[in-house]
Symmetry: C2
Subunit: 210 residues, 2 copies
Amino acid sequence: MTVLKNDKKSPNVVWHESQVTRDMRESQNGHRGAVLWFTGLSGAGKSTLANAVEARLHAMGVHTFVIDGDNVRHGLCADLGFSDADRVENIRRVAEVAGLFVQAGILTLTAFISPFRADRTQARKLLGNAFVEIHCDTSLDVCESRDVKGLYKRARAGEITAFTGISSPYEPPEHAEIVVQTGSQTIAQCVDEIMQWLVAQGMIHTEGEV
Amino acid sequence: MTVLKNDKKSPNVVWHESQVTRDMRESQNGHRGAVLWFTGLSGAGKSTLANAVEARLHAMGVHTFVIDGDNVRHGLCADLGFSDADRVENIRRVAEVAGLFVQAGILTLTAFISPFRADRTQARKLLGNAFVEIHCDTSLDVCESRDVKGLYKRARAGEITAFTGISSPYEPPEHAEIVVQTGSQTIAQCVDEIMQWLVAQGMIHTEGEV
């Protein structure tokens, strides 16, 4: 962009302002920015799967980042609780931050329950075709029997209110780009499925080349 | 990280969970993640300078991103106004997001007035030695005489309340890593100064190599 500055001292100085764009950052990285949005019940394996996909992508030279509860619930969203309103605001902020990472040309992975369809629709609207919804489709029974963090037990005992699947709804995606059966398949199988989809869409190239 | 899963179906399955770390992303990029935090009055040239520094860095192959009012005030911080409390929250969120970009191994540039010393101290505390404070040190007189956006005129007329420098304080940094005289020097001179500092600190290598 060339701007003619109205500077009294140098009235005719033309300042050439280079702007680094998303396209330029994507060219530098060798792939497009996008968001792999993992959604599903607590215990469905969202974070585990997102981290495993990231590891595979990173090994291929793809520029990645995972946004999950671990790095935002104590930071950016530390002021938010788990009421419906706070969950909406939490997901709004995550979508906005994911949008900044897309602008930076990063293949971003988000791992949040994100139980409300309207919020995910909002994220999709904001991120456009950079948004890839991945439903970790594990039944409540399986998640509850795993109960890795002991949260379901506490929710059943009434110690945790508004717990998704027990006392707060989970609205499953109707048109997710990818559905993985994290209840019956291994993590490795789910990773393969996602990688194949990304290759088929031309978002990444086959392993070994970027 | 190797985790022994307590899975009833496969009690002895060891799942090797690879985690992509900040170090790994920085190795991939060839440089450390950090935050160049530009602070100064409205009209001091923070965004212009941040964009010019980014252009220089990008041309060298450095992985960069600018966070400024343009991409957060209408997005992540769209719910915030310009009251003292909202300014504090705005800067808190910017620091948190900058922290995520550092984790992603990105050389991040932020351009916000960030008028309160306590908020910048908080950002410094959060970001540790990744935080590089750059004071765009232009006098109020110069900024007001430029008045690129006509905001000072409106603030003087009382049409904008709590305007930094006029009706709200600007607390200059006491120990900024870099002070640039954006009032008396050209943008190119200021860019050179910042680039020399980054090279001297070993944060980037001399131009032409990354």
